[in-house]
């Protein structure tokens, strides 16, 4: 059942085999797997539950309802980077683009060699990926609905000799409505809110929405439950309490909230790694004024990619935005802004994503567990690669006939041709001269590893320090992936669900054995007593 705070008559106290904090890419698969294995599962989700009818093509409204802090979450440092995160049933998957990529082989190798994670084998992961891809209807974007914007870019990248293709996505019968990041209005995108969570609920799981988990209960070094507090969605006031006692606690709040919760609960901190090692895949974007109507955002926003430069850590991926979002990315106001916006039908866009080499980030405890502080410093090399990615996108747009290309670089906000590209190529950028950056893949803040001194969780996702406390979200990924992470987060979560299931099975086996032993002991006791009574000739001896 999906429970809304307003339907509750009072505080909730209950028991379950497993309590899961967060219903996103990590929490959803664990909930489904364990509920379908016959365990009682409770999910606690801070955001509200929406259905496809609630998604109304208004990006501004979606930001305030579906995103944490209305999408205003940023990293502090140079430059400031917006890192939006979903806060709703389905987590960030409800607002993501649906791209589903497997971990690159060289990254897995790094996990094996640098983090001692050899027991996560390529074969095992491939089996998990295959099962997930089937479950989520993952297939390459259909060129029919890929959108003019994405097709144009791919075609002209190809003409320049840059390799690319259509991205695999978890969408079934996608009609290219173009608003994946604001909630898919047809239910085509197989985000966790329309896949894992409904299946978990069908198997008996309960999802408490509008409830923030605040305390992880630990007794004798073991996690034994979670306490949370509901919020009235209308007033924002804290209302009822929730307490769930459980044999296993799964933390799946995402790479920013999960370390914050651990820090505020003062648990799992001895490695010194909680909140550290944050990577985010910083993203650049370009807008291009084309001679013909592009017709954004109709078409799949992220249907194509150019991976020619992936070995350098640069992925180019499609992105289209509705007018409300494009309006806040333009570096002008007044007349210039209004006139450029009037050209919206002619404006194309594309994005780039950098796999970090020398940047560094961390999440630290903020004034409240809800509001941790995120710091991020873009390294010199990564800044140069961001610039290179913007140059590449501009080059491709000009090859496609763009009249002008707009970039997020001060002094180069508007490029009108190859001469400007050369000028930008020669420029040595300062961190402060690149603005309006965003990043969509925070990860690594409770990294997995084989050494309890340098990692927070084991390869099973159980924390080194607190028994029966598992972390199943982007925070366990030990390195920057270089590709969109949701499928890997799901695979690691599904893998962890197997270990949790084993644990619960052996616990219930232990309980069963303990029960049998207890019954045997009681029988022996009563037999002994009756023998003793018989020998002493007491009552009942006949």
């Amino acid at each position: 059942m999906i429970v809304k705070p307003e339907s509750l008559p009072g505080d909730v106290r209950r028991e379950a085999d497993v309590v899961i904090i967060g219903s996103g890419a990590g929490g959803g698969p664990v909930a489904k797997e364990l509920a379908e294995s016959g365990h009682s599962v409770v999910v606690i989700e801070e955001g509200e539950h929406f259905s496809r009818q609630d998604f109304d093509f208004r990006a501004g409204d979606a930001l305030t309802r579906l995103y944490r802090d209305a999408g205003q979450t940023v990293t502090l440092g140079l430059p400031v980077i917006v890192v939006p995160q979903g806060k709703t049933v389905g987590g960030t998957t409800t607002v993501n683009s649906g791209t589903c990529l497997r971990i690159p082989r060289h990254v897995l190798k790094r996990w094996h060699l640098e983090h001692g994670l050899k027991d996560i084998s390529e074969d095992e992961l491939n089996l998990l990926y295959a099962a997930l891809e089937e479950y989520l209807f993952v297939k390459r974007a259909d060129p029919e609905v890929a959108g003019v914007n994405n097709l144009l870019f791919l075609e002209h990248a190809g003409r320049l000799g840059y390799g690319g293709g259509f991205l695999p996505r978890n969408a079934k019968d996608c009609e290219g409505f173009g608003v994946c990041a604001y909630g898919c209005p047809s239910g085509a995108k197989q985000s966790v809110n329309v896949s894992f969570i409904p299946d978990a609920v069908a198997a008996g799981a309960d999802v408490y929405t509008g409830c923030r988990a605040e305390r992880i209960l630990v007794r004798g070094g073991r996690a034994v439950g979670v306490c949370g507090r509901f919020t009235d969605p209308r007033t924002g006031k804290r209302t009822r309490r929730l307490e769930v006692r459980a044999s296993v606690v799964v933390l799946a709040g995402g790479a920013v909230q999960t370390p914050s919760l651990l820090m505020h609960n003062r648990i799992c901190l001895s490695s010194g790694q909680v909140g550290k090692n944050l990577s985010i895949h910083p993203c650049g974007a370009t807008l291009a004024l084309m001679p013909e109507v592009v017709g954004n955002p109709k078409g799949i926003p992220q249907s194509t990619y150019v991976d020619e430069f992936a070995p350098e850590g640069i992925m180019l991926e499609g992105v289209t935005v509705p007018p409300a979002v494009m309006a806040i990315t333009l570096p002008w106001g007044g007349r210039r802004h209004a006139e450029t916006m009037r050209d919206y039908p002619f404006i194309a866009s594309y994005g780039s994503m950098i796999s970090e080499h020398d940047s560094a980030g961390k999440v630290v405890a903020g004034p409240s567990a809800r509001q941790p502080l995120t710091f991020y410093w873009l390294g010199r090399e990564d800044l140069d690669r961001l610039k290179r990615s913007i140059l590449l996108m501009a080059e491709i747009w000009f090859a496609a006939g763009a009249r002008r290309v707009y970039t997020p670089i001060d002094g180069f906000k508007e490029l009108s041709g190859i001469r400007d590209l050369k000028r930008l190529s020669r420029a040595r950028l300062k961190r402060a001269s690149i603005y309006g950056l965003s990043a969509y893949h925070p990860m690594g803040t409770c990294r997995m590893g084989s050494d309890p001194h340098t990692s927070v969780v084991k390869s099973t996702c159980e924390t080194w320090e607190v028994e029966n406390l598992f972390i199943c979200d982007a925070s366990v990924l030990p390195t920057s992936l270089g590709v969109n992470p949701q499928l890997t987060i799901m695979a690691m979560a599904a893998r962890a669900a197997g270990f949790i299931d084993e644990k619960l099975e052996s616990a219930s086996l232990r309980e069963e054995t303990a029960g049998r032993l207890e019954r045997m002991r009681a029988r022996l006791r009563s037999e002994k007593e009756s023998v003793a009574r018989r020998l002493s000739g007491g009552p009942g001896s006949g």
């Binding site: 496809r52 009818q53 998604f55 109304d56 093509f57 208004r58 990006a59 501004g60 930001l63 305030t64 309802r65 802090d69 209305a70 999408g71 205003q72 979450t73 079934k172 019968d173 009609e175 409505f177 209005p185 047809s186 239910g187 085509a188 197989q190 329309v194 409904p198 924002g236 109507v293 017709g295 954004n296 955002p297 109709k298 509705p322 007018p323 409300a324 979002v325 494009m326 309006a327 806040i328 333009l330 570096p331 002008w332 106001g333 007044g334 007349r335 210039r336 802004h337 209004a338 006139e339 916006m341 009037r342 919206y344 039908p345 509001q371 001060d410 402060a432 001269s433 603005y435 309006g436």
Partner: protein, 137 residues
Amino acid sequence: MTMREYFMRRLHRLVPVLIEQVEGMPPVDPDQVTAFAREFLQAGTPAFRLLFYAMMLALQALCLLTRGRSVYSLPPEDGDAFVRYLYSSRIAALGAIPTVLGIPIFMAHYNRDDVQVRLGFDVHGMRGEAAAREVKR
């Protein structure tokens, strides 16, 4: 009057300075922008709210200093020139003032159905199509 009310009234008067009415586009509606901004700021972080209010004060102070009059009473041409001056300044902090203020203001205006439709994004048609096309697993 609460602090929030004070800033919302100011914001209402700031809307035409940042969003200029151009031919072919639906009229700007400061009421709608203010209502959206109120909700957006409320749902957001306290840090962004504070930054936003600080930027409003900074904008007014700068306008008084450089133009000798309140930003809220600038004639449209002067308002546009002032905004252009800020955006093109070499001092990044000056450009940040209208950038931050523009976030809820621009988002609100371009979130409107009639504005989106005018820009070729037929939200009414799409809503109808989406409603008729429920995808079942």
